[in-house]
Symmetry: C2
Subunit: 291 residues, 2 copies
Amino acid sequence: MTALRETVTGDPVPARFSINQETVKQWSLPQLVRGCTAAGVSAVGLWREPVQGYGVAAAAALVREAGLTVTSLCRGGFLTTSDPDERKARLEDNRAAIEEAATLGAPTLVLVSGGLPPGSRDLAGARERVAEALAELGPYAAERGVRLAVEPLHPMFASDRCVVSTLAQALDLAERFPADQVGVVVDTYHLWWDDTVAAQIARAGAGGRIAAFQLADWVTPLPEGVLLGRGQLGDGAVDLRWFRERVEEAGHTGRIEVEIFNPALWDRDGDEVLAETLDRFRRHAFGPAPA
Amino acid sequence: MTALRETVTGDPVPARFSINQETVKQWSLPQLVRGCTAAGVSAVGLWREPVQGYGVAAAAALVREAGLTVTSLCRGGFLTTSDPDERKARLEDNRAAIEEAATLGAPTLVLVSGGLPPGSRDLAGARERVAEALAELGPYAAERGVRLAVEPLHPMFASDRCVVSTLAQALDLAERFPADQVGVVVDTYHLWWDDTVAAQIARAGAGGRIAAFQLADWVTPLPEGVLLGRGQLGDGAVDLRWFRERVEEAGHTGRIEVEIFNPALWDRDGDEVLAETLDRFRRHAFGPAPA
């Protein structure tokens, strides 16, 4: 209801905003809920580990009682193994993640596919195993009101984290399944460099596949390991407004999650980071384009 | 003639091999020439800075007298600036690079396009300025027997080094010009993650656009700045044999350069690194596929 009220008072920006928990990782779950309430932020993206640490049912009650919308749960996936026992364990863990999403009322479970198995160079085979796992998990998720969202990660993660590197690949996978079972994540950090991304966003929208839209900026130099180098909105190379407009044209006018992995943000006061992030979101994803 | 003799003696591998100077950066130019001769390596890829340091004409004489083939000169490019004075200076520098390549007898000048200008988020505009520069430089190069080779760099370099991130993009650029003016570089390090790369290699071959084929392996974790993290052949995720077969199917049966930027190789004895690299080349790009 917060979202609606904000729209009515003439400021649509907070009504579109969702803060991914990892952006303010310094906060506990109760701190996150208190901080969002204080800042007028009405939606959050959650991660499994802190939710499990607090207790899934307790976390669900906490966010529900605060009136917060849960836009997504991160993350399932890591489905590329060729070892039968490991595969069984991974599927089981993903079913648990689906149940956690359902308990939290999160419509979307973000899936990071997984990298190449140790010693393997077979990208095509790894991608096919992701498809096989989606076939098993998709119906299980849809029965519980949760949609799996395949997230293409930047190609720099292809060997060790995610063999799905482009939105086209993610859609090739997702489109093998019904749209209520498998969608995709559009994340500016991972996709900004791709000159085919506008066409692929349109394709995703036309098929009803945009399950989540996430923002982070691209800044260099990348840190060692490249995982924790995402930039605050406006600090980097990504034309966030352009992305938001393309995603809206494709029919996704719902929540936009800001998900920034950056230790410099985690070292600061959470309230300050949240206020800055909302301000940057307003100016760089929505404000007037620079002259 | 070395290459021919090697083919006749039944070992085609050294006849395909070229060592890029940067792989054994610890060597001066005379050391490189001596080391190649001692190892039976008959081709080198050179870089402008060490060649200029030695003197371009002297370097050309040195490699010619040693009977070495120069497969490419690295590098021109950095053509994305929107500042008129800087653009003029960059074009001038590229014309100098073309002349250096001609002096060295290098048929190919590798071009790294350049990143986004400071503060810009306009990838499409930057790419268009690369095309404009190619239109100016292409005829100048062809008149001197040199072909410009647009190198797509891994998308992790898109903001600060190269706005051309895929082989498809490089071909979209190159194909605006005659094939004797502008070709492309196929480098496994930059392209290995791309599920469309086989089709794009075939496209490049059909159009006679493969100006250089370079090998390096992909290893993680990436170092800070991600520039110097390339892996020795066989140490990483890239199926080098698969790439070599695709490039051969596309009609390129010429030299293959090994170009690895890795300080761990530079800390070692150059002869040892060259011998290891040739051995890895034999086993991972040519040897029988593992069972």
